[in-house]
Every structure is written in structure tokens, then in C-alpha cells.
């Protein structure tokens, strides 16, 4: 860690002649305030726009409140909302779904995005790279409405593209052995059977967010200078070894960042399951009900905002624990504090 400005200054103050002391002291305070000046936009916006909503929802979690009845209708109920939530089978079901989806849809995103970003940055040049990156980013910019229309068509049981493709494969000579089970299983109900709903949602999430991670990782691989690869090549490293021993350690802060984002984002997963179940309470047997989805249902459909606030804080604690574990194990290297 480098020596910080204030420390240098402290030494200077101690040895300086008395006449210069006052000026140095204002300089000292300036130095002290400098970092706060730089982070002031965050502090200002946090205090103005984020803090109040946070405190409000903490307060709300101890109240019973039907929002339609207005602010004055809140009633203090102590920890009743938390008691109710913690013994609620739907909440536990939804937390299970959330974790399942976070893992199954989260891990492949990174396993795909890291090598693809590496290929894009090191293996392609110029215009081609732009267009590939842009195309891979398209799912991320596609609006939810289009996503739902498209995936309903893909997953549709009787005429969906996916089922048609599987049927087609089962007719081909080479693949027929692998896919012989397909005709019997038809029609496969991707979105209306409780076993398949979660994998179907996970596919959409992977499809949508991998492109985002590719862009983040591309930025990461850009920080690895050509010289490093050249040096590795001189040492006799092949492409794979260059990737594994040179590039990957360098982008650790990016992996750390992207994984943090995936943990937090996936544990808050809402839109995709909501759309793919048509907002129908999480689909068959609540197999697609995530925690965010459930708190939306409780707060905005059932109009029990207090109860929803309690659920949201339980979810918050869940996310905080997962993120802390991640920070604990990967934080030192991930935040670059060993550099």
C-alpha cells in the first residue's frame, strides 16, 4: 500500500517552522477532505434518494399497511410480519427457487463469458470484433415484452421451436439414439410443468445476461498488455497457458466484480420468472416463484406492504450473507488489496 497524502503531511507539520504552521494546517484539512470531496456525489445522492426509502421500508416492516388506504393507515404490529414470513411455506419455497436459479443461471454465465471475451479481445481484430461483441450484447438490450413473446414461442408445447427441434433431432440417424425418448415425452411442457419451469427460466437468464458479462470481461482483458503475452510466449507458453496463467489472474478484480453483481442480481431475480409465468403467482406449484417475485405479489397484488417489507429485509439478509461469504473468500485478491 502506498503512503497516503495525510501521512506525509503529518510529518511536514511536525517539522515545519511555526510561521508556516497555519497554512499547513489548512492544507492538512484540505488533504483530509479531499477523498470526501471525490466521493461526495455518492454521499449526496445516497442521502437524498436512497437513505429515506431504506429507512422507510425498515419502518414499514414493523407495520401493517394496505398502501391503497394511504400513509396514515399504518398500524404498528411489532415483529409480527417477520414471524409470519419466517414460518411461511411460500417464502421458503421462493428462497429455495431463488438460490436454485441463482446458481444454475449464474455459473454458466461466467463460464461462457470469460472465454468468449478472451477470444473476442485476443483472437479477433477490428470491425469483426465490434460486430460480434455487439451481437452478443443484443439479448441484454432486448425489451422484456419482446423476450416474453419470443420465449413463449420457443417453449410452446405443441408448436414451439424447441420441441420441433428435439423431434427433428430424434429423426436424424446419428442423434436418434440420444433422442429416442423425445417422441414419447412429447409434448414437453417447458413452462407449465413444475419440473421444467426453473430450467426454462434459467436458460432465458443465461441467454440474457451472458452478453453483459462478456462486455465487462472484455474491459478486463483489455488491461492485460501485449508485452505480457509476448513475454509468456518467449517462455514457451501456448495459447491455453497464456489464458490460464497470464490473462486470468490479471482480470481477477473483474471476475470479482461480475460475480458480486451476479450474486446480488440473481438473488433479486424478478422480471424473467414473472414474465415467463405470466405473473400467475410463480407458475405451477410455485416452481418459478422467486423471493423478489413473492414480495412483489404480497406487496402489490395482495396489498400487504408491511409484510412485503419484512420479506424484503429477510431477502436482504440472505443476499448480504451470500455476498459477505464471497467477499470473505475472494475479497482480498478481488479488491486488489494485495497489489
Amino acid at each position: 500500500m502506498s503512503i497516503t497524502g495525510s501521512q506525509i503531511d503529518g510529518v511536514a507539520v511536525a517539522t515545519a517552522p511555526a510561521a508556516r504552521k497555519r497554512r499547513s494546517s489548512t492544507k492538512f484539512w484540505k488533504k483530509k477532505l479531499m477523498p470526501w470531496l471525490f466521493i461526495s456525489p455518492f454521499i449526496f445522492l445516497f442521502l437524498t434518494f436512497t437513505l429515506f426509502p431504506l429507512l422507510f421500508s425498515v419502518y414499514l416492516s414493523f407495520q401493517e399497511w394496505n398502501p391503497v388506504a394511504g400513509l396514515s393507515s399504518m398500524q404498528f404490529v411489532g415483529v409480527a410480519n417477520y414471524e409470519l414470513a419466517l414460518t411461511d411455506p411460500w417464502l421458503w419455497q421462493s428462497l429455495y427457487n431463488t438460490v436454485w436459479l441463482a446458481v444454475v443461471s449464474g455459473v454458466p454465465q461466467h463460464l461462457l463469458a470469460i472465454p468468449v471475451a478472451y477470444l473476442l479481445v485476443t483472437g479477433l481484430r477490428g470491425g469483426l470484433r465490434h460486430f460480434y461483441t455487439a451481437f452478443m450484447f443484443i439479448p441484454y438490450i432486448t425489451s422484456t415484452v419482446a423476450v416474453s413473446l419470443i420465449f413463449f414461442s420457443i417453449y410452446s408445447a405443441n408448436s414451439g421451436i424447441l420441441n420441433q427441434m428435439l423431434l427433428g433431432l430424434s429423426d436424424l440417424p446419428v442423434f436418434s439414439w440420444f433422442f429416442s425418448w423425445v417422441p414419447e415425452a412429447m409434448p414437453i411442457r417447458w413452462l407449465t410443468s413444475s419440473d421444467l419451469l426453473k430450467p426454462s427460466i434459467a436458460m432465458v437468464v443465461i441467454w440474457k445476461y451472458t452478453g453483459f458479462n462478456i462486455v465487462v470481461y472484455s474491459a478486463g482483458f483489455l488491461t492485460v498488455s501485449r508485452d505480457l503475452y509476448d513475454a509468456a510466449r518467449v517462455d514457451g507458453c501456448n495459447r491455453w497457458q497464456q489464458f490460464w496463467h497470464v490473462a486470468l489472474p490479471m482480470i481477477r478484480p473483474f471476475i470479482f466484480f461480475a460475480v458480486t453483481l451476479t450474486i446480488i442480481g440473481n438473488l433479486q431475480l424478478f422480471e424473467e420468472p414473472f414474465v415467463l409465468t405470466q405473473g400467475q403467482s410463480g407458475g405451477v406449484a410455485q416452481a418459478g416463484l422467486t423471493a423478489s417475485y413473492y414480495l412483489y405479489l404480497v406487496g402489490w397484488q395482495w396489498l400487504e406492504m408491511g409484510s412485503a417489507a419484512a420479506i424484503s429485509w429477510i431477502l436482504f439478509i440472505f443476499i448480504a450473507i451470500a455476498t459477505s461469504v464471497h467477499f470473505y473468500f475472494n475479497g482480498r485478491k478481488g479488491l486488489g488489496e494485495d497489489r
Binding site: G70, S193, Q278, S281, L297
Partner: protein
């Protein structure tokens, strides 16, 4: 930089602060805009000095925004639309004007409206908070060609659920589904066979009724249809659903009268003349959907808002225009004698179906919404029912589990 931002902020604030006095803002969801586009010019002409603007949002978004506005006491329009599924929980919360009070005197109009819809707009205190603007009398749409192909007589088919299922068996031999989703049948039975004094899900003391015979029967009938493979397991409002109507692979659909407009306009326009409408099976009367108009307490222009609501709901002109423009079935019974109701409908092979709709509308029993209906609805219709139908859970167990969940949530 900051200074500029603050200056920008200040100027934006000033821009936002201008609003004229007799302007009425109407908050709703599509297709109300098509309706209003026709009616607002009429109204503004006869009411000089009044100008009406509307803000449309997608159905779910509209209710979310309205919830936010009611919660914070600001931002709502002068007239707001409330869908029937939300009306119970919205009107009892105190965010709307009491229209029974002397300034409005809504009670005097009660007689003119379809009974069940009028009472849905009543709060638990017996006062009127919302006025029905359109309703969705429940009927069964069926394919005439498919009925003929198996030699079925629809009057006989709708005698009871057994005859309905029997019809399904005949259709199955021709690879035609009786209905898109068996869950619709369960929902119909639950909503339409409510005993006097009961709510949909709760009795007078607020105790859940979901393990009662009504629910068991609803689940049993739906399960029979599912187990015999008579339904297509097709989700509503998906391409497959529309395709079923187009290609004639689905023979019947239980629905509000409004489905006619959709079938005719875009779902299956090429099947004109092949359709018919009948009463629901087993002699039940029910409704699908419907909307209400209300005035938020925070509204700026209540008096004019009320005049406009009266125009939209209580004049034959506006009510009939709604039917013509957007297929919204009138809630005002006085319109049922209009010549438009005698018109044969080509899409239904010349059937005078509006007479049927009107007859159904007058027979739908009134059931007052109760606190917790929305929760029970999710837990039963979208929870327990699909567990039974899709996952093979036993009916009694599913209903008992749902009852336990309801009791936890609704007190």
C-alpha cells in the same frame, strides 16, 4: 456543474406547476383510449369550458401506479378506472370519494345498473364508491362445425358437467380438445355457485370456505377433464391459444362476452360464421371481468369528474358507444332494449347473441368482495388448482394446505 444542475432543477419545477382549473384527467388502461377518443369530443361540445385528457398505462402498470398514488395521496387523475379484480380491495381502503354522499347522490342511479355489478362497487359500509362502466357476462363460445361433426346438440351439451364432459369424449375421438385449459372450468364453478350470504372465498365471519363442497366439486370436474385428456393444457393469451381458435382444435371456451370482439378482430377472423354462444354449462351464471370508475379523494376537480362519470356510465349514448367501439358490454340495463341488441352477429352465424349476454347479465348473482379475496384467489386458482391438475396432488390435501395458508395470511 452542481450550480447548473440546481438551476436546471428549479426551472423544471416551475414548468411542472401549471395546471388549469376545469381540466379532468382520466387514468385508465387500453382500450379505454379508443373509447374516449370517440366520446371526449362529444362531451366537450356539450360542456363548454371543460377539457378532458387521459393517461393510459398497461393494465397491471395502471393499478401499480394507482396504488402508489393512493398510498402517497398524490398523482392520481380525477377519474380512475379500477378493474373488477382490484375493486374489492381498493374501495374499502378509503382512498375514493363516497359517491352515496349527498354531493353525488349515486344511490339514486342504482336501479339503472346491472345488480351484481352495482353491488360490487359498494364498500363494506354499504356506500357506493365505484360505478360499473362495463361488465363481462359469462357465456360459452363454441365451434358450430365441430358440434355438427360429432352430431352434438349444444342445448343438451350444456345440461350439466357430465353432458359437457361426454361431449368432450366424442370430440377426443376426432382429436379435438373440449377446452383449452381445464382450470377455467374449476374457476367458473367456484365463482358462480356461491351460496347466498357467502363470499367467493370467505363466509360472513371471515372464515375461509375453500374446503367446502363447492371447491371440491370444482376441482373434481376440472380434474376429470384433465385426466381424461379432454383439455389442451394451453395457457390463455399465448399463440397456441389463438391457434386453437383458428384451426378448430379447441371446441369451447368459457369466457366473458368480450371475447367475441377479440375473436372477430384478430384472434381468428377467418372463422367467422363457425362460432356460436350459449349459456354456461350446468345452468350457472357468472361474469368474467368488468371495470369501474371512481374518484380519488385527492382529485382536484371532483364535481366535473362526477359529471363525466355519469356521462360515461349513465347515458345510453356512451354505454352503447362502448359496445360498438371496443366491445365493452354495457352495465346500464336501460340499453338492453336498444335496437343494437336485436342485431344478428355474423361472426356467430347470425345469432342475436347480445340478447343472451343481457339475459346472463341480469341473472348473475351478486357476491360482495371480501378482504383477502385476492390472496385466496392466488392461493386457490393459481396455487392449489395447478398442483392438482398438473402435478397430480390429491384434491383434499391441496385444498387443506391452501386453507392453512389462507388462514395464516388473512385474519
Amino acid at each position: 456543474m452542481k450550480f447548473q444542475l440546481m438551476a436546471g432543477l428549479a426551472s423544471l419545477v416551475m414548468l411542472g406547476a401549471s395546471a388549469s382549473a376545469d381540466e379532468i384527467v382520466f387514468d385508465g388502461f387500453p382500450d379505454f383510449n379508443s373509447h374516449l377518443d370517440v366520446l371526449i369530443p362529444d362531451y366537450e361540445e356539450t360542456h363548454p369550458g371543460v377539457s378532458i385528457s387521459y393517461r393510459m398505462n398497461q393494465h397491471g402498470d395502471h393499478h401499480k401506479k394507482l396504488t402508489t398514488n393512493l398510498a402517497t395521496g398524490s398523482g392520481a387523475g380525477d377519474v380512475v378506472v379500477v378493474d373488477v379484480s382490484f375493486v374489492g380491495s381498493f374501495i374499502n381502503a378509503g382512498g375514493f370519494e363516497n359517491l352515496s354522499s349527498p354531493e353525488y347522490g349515486a344511490d339514486a342511479m342504482g336501479e339503472d345498473f346491472v345488480g351484481y355489478a352495482w353491488s360490487q362497487g359498494k364498500g363494506a359500509d354499504g356506500n357506493q364508491y365505484a360505478i360499473p362502466v362495463d361488465i363481462g357476462p359469462g357465456v360459452m363460445y363454441y365451434r358450430r362445425d365441430l358440434a355438427e361433426s360429432v352430431g352434438a346438440d349444444m342445448e343438451q351439451v350444456i345440461t350439466d358437467w357430465d353432458s359437457y364432459i361426454e361431449y368432450g369424449r366424442k370430440l377426443k375421438e376426432k382429436n379435438v380438445y373440449l377446452i383449452a385449459d381445464a382450470a377455467d372450468v374449476a374457476q367458473a364453478i367456484i365463482y358462480t355457485t356461491v351460496k347466498d350470504g357467502e363470499g367467493y372465498y370467505f363466509d360472513e365471519d371471515g372464515k375461509p370456505l375453500v374446503t367446502s363442497a363447492r371447491f371440491v366439486k370444482a376441482f373434481e370436474v376440472a380434474k376429470r377433464i384433465r385426466d381424461e385428456g379432454l383439455d389442451g393444457q394451453i395457457q390463455a393469451w399465448t399463440n397456441e391459444w389463438y391457434e386453437g381458435f383458428k384451426s378448430g382444435t379447441v371446441a369451447t371456451q368459457l369466457s366473458g362476452a368480450w371475447l367475441l370482439g377479440h375473436l372477430q378482430n384478430w384472434m381468428a377472423p377467418d372463422t367467422a360464421g363457425l362460432w356460436g354462444a350459449s349459456n354456461l354449462p350446468d345452468g350457472i351464471y357468472g361474469s368474467w371481468g368488468g371495470s369501474f370508475l371512481a374518484i380519488p379523494k385527492q382529485a382536484k376537480n371532483k364535481k366535473e369528474a362526477w359529471e363525466f362519470i355519469k356521462f360515461l356510465t349513465n347515458t345510453s349514448h356512451a354505454q352503447l358507444a362502448g359496445m360498438k367501439n371496443i366491445g365493452a358490454f354495457p352495465a346500464l340495463t336501460g340499453t338492453y332494449g336498444d335496437a343494437a341488441f336485436e342485431e344478428p352477429i355474423d361472426f356467430l352465424a347470425g345469432q342475436k347473441a347480445r340478447l343472451l349476454f343481457a339475459e346472463v347479465a341480469n341473472k348473475v348473482p351478486a357476491v360482495a368482495p371480501r378482504k383477502g379475496d385476492l390472496i385466496a384467489d392466488d392461493l386457490i386458482i393459481r396455487g392449489a388448482l395447478y398442483e392438482v391438475l398438473n402435478d397430480g396432488k390429491a384434491i383434499e390435501a391441496a385444498l387443506r394446505d391452501a386453507e392453512r395458508l389462507i388462514k395464516r395470511r388473512v385474519k
